[in-house]
Each structure stands twice: as C-alpha cells, then as structure tokens.
C-alpha cells in the first residue's frame, strides 16, 4: 500500500487552478522533497494532502484512507509556518493538550518525553509567551512529532529556524526515516532538503514537472532539477 497517493487532484482559487491534475505516489519510508518557485502550489498541495482543504477534483489517500478520516489524522504529523502553540499555556500544557487530542494513553508521560527530546524539560512550566524564538520552534517540532505519526508533512521546515532548532529537527527527521516513516517536505532550501530526500518532485504552476529519485548528481548540484525541468 502506498503511504501517499494523490490521484488527479485539482484545486482552484476561483477559476485559477492552483493545482492541476496532480499525480504523486510514494511508498512508505520515502522522503519526498517538494520543490518549486513561490506560487507553484507547494503549500496548497501540502495542505490538501494534510486535509486542511478538500481537492475539488481527484482524491488524496494516505495509507489507503481519506485525509479527513480521524484514523488517518492520527497518522499525520503536520509542521507548518506557524508554531501552532498557545501563548497562554505552558510548554507542558501545550504538549499534553495535543497528546490528549490524539488519544495517547499517558499524555503527561508522553509530553515529558518530548520536552526532553527537544531540550525543553527545564522550562516545562514556562508559558510559551515567555519563550525565545528558538525555544518555540523546538516545542513546535515536538508538538508535530509527539503522536509518532507515520506520515510527516512539513511546510518549509527549515525556514526561519535557528541553528539549534535545525539540529533538533534534522536529528528527529533522520530518526523518523530510520524507523520507516514517510516524509513530505516542501522547501526552498534545496541543499538541506536534498540531503534528506530519497525522492524529488518539482512543481511548476500547479503541475508536477518532475518526480523521481534523488540522485547524487542532484545533491551535488541542487540547481540541476530546476535547470533541467524548471520552466517547461
């Protein structure tokens, strides 16, 4: 069974098709880097896969199920542009909230475990409002990983992260990969993404211009995909 199957998905903004007949399939354990210029449809595609927006034609299946199926959503971890944490709640309360929503048996234990993994156990009772930018980002990474999702959807994950948060995220992503998780990440930072990626998909004006394995050649020269398939 495919970890992700996008079958002929269209999404419009009015009459303007932001996604045009997208077909993508990835096997479990794949790390797919979605690349493309601003406005190519990366975020729209990722949000449609995550179930934040319904495709207007075609369908998305994650592990064989609809994205809006609650069972599917337990298997998805989403890290978007915002940190998705409540300013008025403490680090521990934020993680416990999501642990509870995901139906994790021991929410407190799981929250503490992830505070440790992200190096925030000492400030667990501090309110997010008082956190530095880097701390918030690490907590956000913990929030997205805490329910140990099968499929990770990451929208520009390395943008605006500080060094320590990048290190935490890369470590977690490698771990997840070793454990056979599937990852789809949209990105501008080609080098970071291609080092992780097993596959690459290039979006150009809402279409998939290229989808294939990430080769050593590409890692050595990240501009190659754009040069070869970019403006078709």
């Amino acid at each position: 069974m495919d970890a992700l199957a996008v079958e002929g998905v269209w999404r419009y903004y009015g009459d303007y098709p932001a996604l045009r007949d997208i077909h993508l399939t990835t096997e479990p354990g794949t790390c797919l880097a979605l690349i493309g210029r601003n406005g190519a449809g990366k975020t729209t595609l990722l949000r449609t896969i995550a179930g934040f927006a319904r495709p207007m034609k075609g369908k998305v299946l994650i592990l064989g199920r609809e994205p809006r199926d609650p069972e599917t959503r337990r298997d998805i971890g989403f890290l978007g542009h915002g940190i998705a944490l409540y300013e008025e709640l403490s680090a521990l309360e934020n993680l416990m909230l999501f642990a509870r929503l995901y139906g994790i048996a021991d929410p407190r234990g799981r929250a503490l475990e992830w505070l440790e993994k992200t190096g925030l156990e000492r400030v667990r009772d501090g309110l997010v409002r008082e956190f530095s930018r880097g701390m918030r980002q690490r907590l956000a990474v913990g929030r997205a990983f805490l329910h140990e999702p099968q499929v990770l959807l990451l929208d520009e994950p390395f943008t605006a992260l500080d060094d320590r948060a990048i290190a935490v995220l890369q470590r977690l992503l490698r771990e997840a990969r070793e454990r056979g998780r599937t990852m789809i990440l949209s990105t501008h930072q080609l080098r970071e993404a291609l080092e992780l990626a097993s596959h690459v998909a290039l979006l150009n004006r809402g279409r998939v211009a290229f989808h294939g394995a990430c080769t050593a050649e590409m890692v050595a020269d990240p501009g190659l995909v754009y040069a070869r398939y970019g403006e078709g």
Binding site: Y12, Y13, G14, D15, Y16, G39, M56, R205
Partner: protein
C-alpha cells in the same frame, strides 16, 4: 443568442408593465383609501420578486456547497443582490402607502419588520463577500451564511407576528378583504412583469460575476509568470 433572449425578456417585462400602469392609472379611487391603494399593484409584486430571488439564492448556495461549481456561487450572489433591491422596493412602496393611509412613514408591524430584518441579513451577506479575497473561501462562507439567513425567514416572520401587528391582513387568500377579479388580473400580470425583471437582472449580474471571476483568475495567472 443568450443576450438576445435576455433583451427579449426585458422588453416583454417593460411592455407588460407599461400596459399595467396604463390600466392602473384608469382605475377609480377605492372607497376607503382613495388613490393610494394603487400602490399595492407595485408593492405586492416586489415581495414576490424578493421571495423568488431569495429562494433562488438558497438553492444556488446549497448547490454550490454540493458541487463546488462556481456558476452556482455567481447565481447566489446575483439573486441575493436582486432580492435586496426588491426588498428595498417593497419597503419604499409600503412606506409611500403608509404615509397617507396611516399617517406614518414606518411602522414596526410584522411584515415590515421581517422585511427589514431580512434586508439586514442579506446586506450582511453581501458585505461578508466584500471582506473575503479568496474566491473559494468567499463562495463557501457566503453559501453557509445564505443557508443560515434562510432558516431565519419563518422564525422571524412568526415571532414578529406574535410580537405586534398593525399591517392590513393580506387581501388575497383571506376572507376579510375583497379584491375585484379584474384587479386580480392586473396584479397577476404585474407580478409576472416583476418576476421577468428579476430573472433578467439576475442573469445580467450572473454574467458579470462570471466575467469578474475569470478576470481575477487571469490576473492571478499573470502574476504567476
């Protein structure tokens, strides 16, 4: 072809209206109300036009949510705008009649108040549309508001009716008033004319709305290069 049909329908509406106005002008003054009663020939059709438009808006909104086809969104906004115009016409003609008969421009009776509340609801709908940029979200949210507004119509009507009532009871379908049959014919034709007008207005606004959306998407496309 489509335009020609629209012109023809519009023309038909005007011909019927002109004939009706001629006939209405020749009617004798009514015993109790004098000439003011003639407003009813324009007042009642406004309600019928408004009711038909608002019901169309509801159907179009539901269809949009089911099909996600933007033509239904265009139909919804077009018929809501026409509905608001007819609601306004109904309130203005009612007001013109009330002044000589009741001695007041406005009264808080069941029908007038219901109309005002509906007018506010649908004006809110149109304002909400203006406040949302993204067309898919705009269409979806507007459709939800339209459904909510329509649910309110019967509750509004009955509750305002229990609240207080000054409006003359409808002279059709009721035993208290009497309406000569030749007047009834004029009324029927006038209602038809108003409905034709409503249909033409809705069709024209629908075309504009479709063109506007196409324009917006071309602009978006131009920005993507």
């Amino acid at each position: 072809m489509r335009e020609k049909i629209l012109y023809l329908l519009g023309l038909a509406a005007f011909v019927i209206l002109a004939r009706d106005i001629y006939l209405i002008a020749r009617l004798p003054p009514e015993a109790a109300q004098g000439y003011a009663f003639k407003i009813i020939f324009f007042h009642v059709p406004s309600w019928v036009g408004a009711g038909a438009s608002v019901a169309t808006a509801l159907v179009a909104s539901v269809l949009f949510l089911i099909t996600k086809n933007f033509i239904f969104d265009a139909a919804a906004v077009a018929s809501t705008e026409v509905g608001v115009a007819f609601l306004s016409a109904g309130m203005v003609t009612g007001s013109l009649w009330a002044r000589p008969i009741w001695g007041i421009w406005w009264t808080w009776d069941e029908r007038l108040t219901t109309t005002l509340v509906l007018w506010l609801l649908y004006v809110g709908y149109l304002m909400l549309r203006h406040a949302i940029e993204e067309p898919t979200q705009r269409a979806t949210f507007a459709a939800v508001v339209s459904i909510f507004a329509f649910i309110g119509v019967p509750i509004d009507y009955f509750s305002i009716r229990w609240w207080r009532t000054q409006h003359p009871s409808p002279v059709f379908f009721s035993s208290t008033g009497s309406f000569p049959s030749d007047w009834g014919a004029i009324m029927g034709w006038n209602i038809l004319a108003y409905l034709l007008l409503a249909a033409v207005f809705v069709a024209v606004r629908l075309e504009q709305e479709q063109a506007q959306r196409e324009l917006d998407s071309l602009r978006r496309l131009a920005h993507s290069f």
